[in-house]
């Protein structure tokens, strides 16, 4: 299945937009996690964790899913395929892992937001959760930057499946696929 050039561009534009947006949103999340962890201002801490919950559900989760979906469509709709090149495969695995990790972390995010919404003081018991949130979001940011680098550099290397497919039938490389 190969997309028409117009659809291919649309899928790629969607993928780039949502992927870059995902990075920006996670960078904002890291800033909130830092503020929540180190700030001595109780209002700032509460606001940070409440904002983290809202950002997660309304921005980060949708961006992650659209990025994943548009990436799969872009890959399958071109000769790159999904399992033919290592850089595409690695990107897919990192994106799936990051999305699953994000969904797992929605629980502690909600927990911290619920604690922040309570009128009582934000207890020191939550410090390990707060630190965990900062480490996890920083790791996510690094992973997303790795994805961007992979997309731009497209390092060489075909999978065994891709190699077999290439030598099985004619799947000529299009000019835009050539490495520059």
């Amino acid at each position: 299945m190969t997309l028409t050039p117009r659809l291919r561009k649309f899928a790629l534009a969607t993928h780039v937009t949502f992927s870059v947006g995902w990075i920006g949103a996670v960078a904002g999340f890291v800033a909130l996690a830092v503020a929540g962890l180190i700030s001595q201002d109780a209002q700032m801490v509460r606001a940070a964790y409440l904002a983290m919950e809202v950002t997660t559900w309304t921005v980060i989760v949708p961006l992650a899913f659209v990025s994943l979906l548009s990436g799969v469509v872009s890959s399958l709709g071109t000769n790159w395929g999904l399992f033919r090149y290592y850089w595409v495969l690695v990107k897919l695995l990192i994106t799936i892992f990051a999305t699953i990790a994000l969904l797992i972390h929605t629980q502690p995010i909600e927990f911290l937001a619920a604690a922040a919404a309570k009128p009582t003081a934000f207890s020191a018991d939550l410090q390990s959760q707060q630190l965990h949130m900062l480490i996890a979001s920083s790791a996510a940011l690094v992973a997303l930057i790795v994805l961007t680098v992979l997309s731009l550099y497209k390092p060489q290397g075909m999978t065994r499946y891709g190699w077999r497919k290439q030598h099985e039938g004619p799947a000529p490389a299009l000019p835009w696929m050539q490495r520059t």
């Binding site: 290592y86 934000f122 410090q127």
Partner: protein, 54 residues
């Protein structure tokens, strides 16, 4: 028809990334099990970290 050329194998960058990832995962598991880097647990009666305004 000529035989297809043999598969050149996994590229070096994939192997290197795999090793780095493996080491990091191992480190994370060790840190989790030894408890290194985690903070000592306070009780709820302890001083709240953000209880006061600057």
């Amino acid at each position: 028809m000529a035989d297809p050329p043999p598969y050149p194998g996994m590229p070096r960058w994939v192997k290197a990334s795999g090793i780095v990832l493996g080491v990091l995962a191992l480190l994370a598991v060790v840190l989790l099990h030894t408890g290194a880097g985690s903070h000592p647990h306070h009780t709820a009666a302890d001083t709240p970290i953000v209880g006061s305004q600057r």
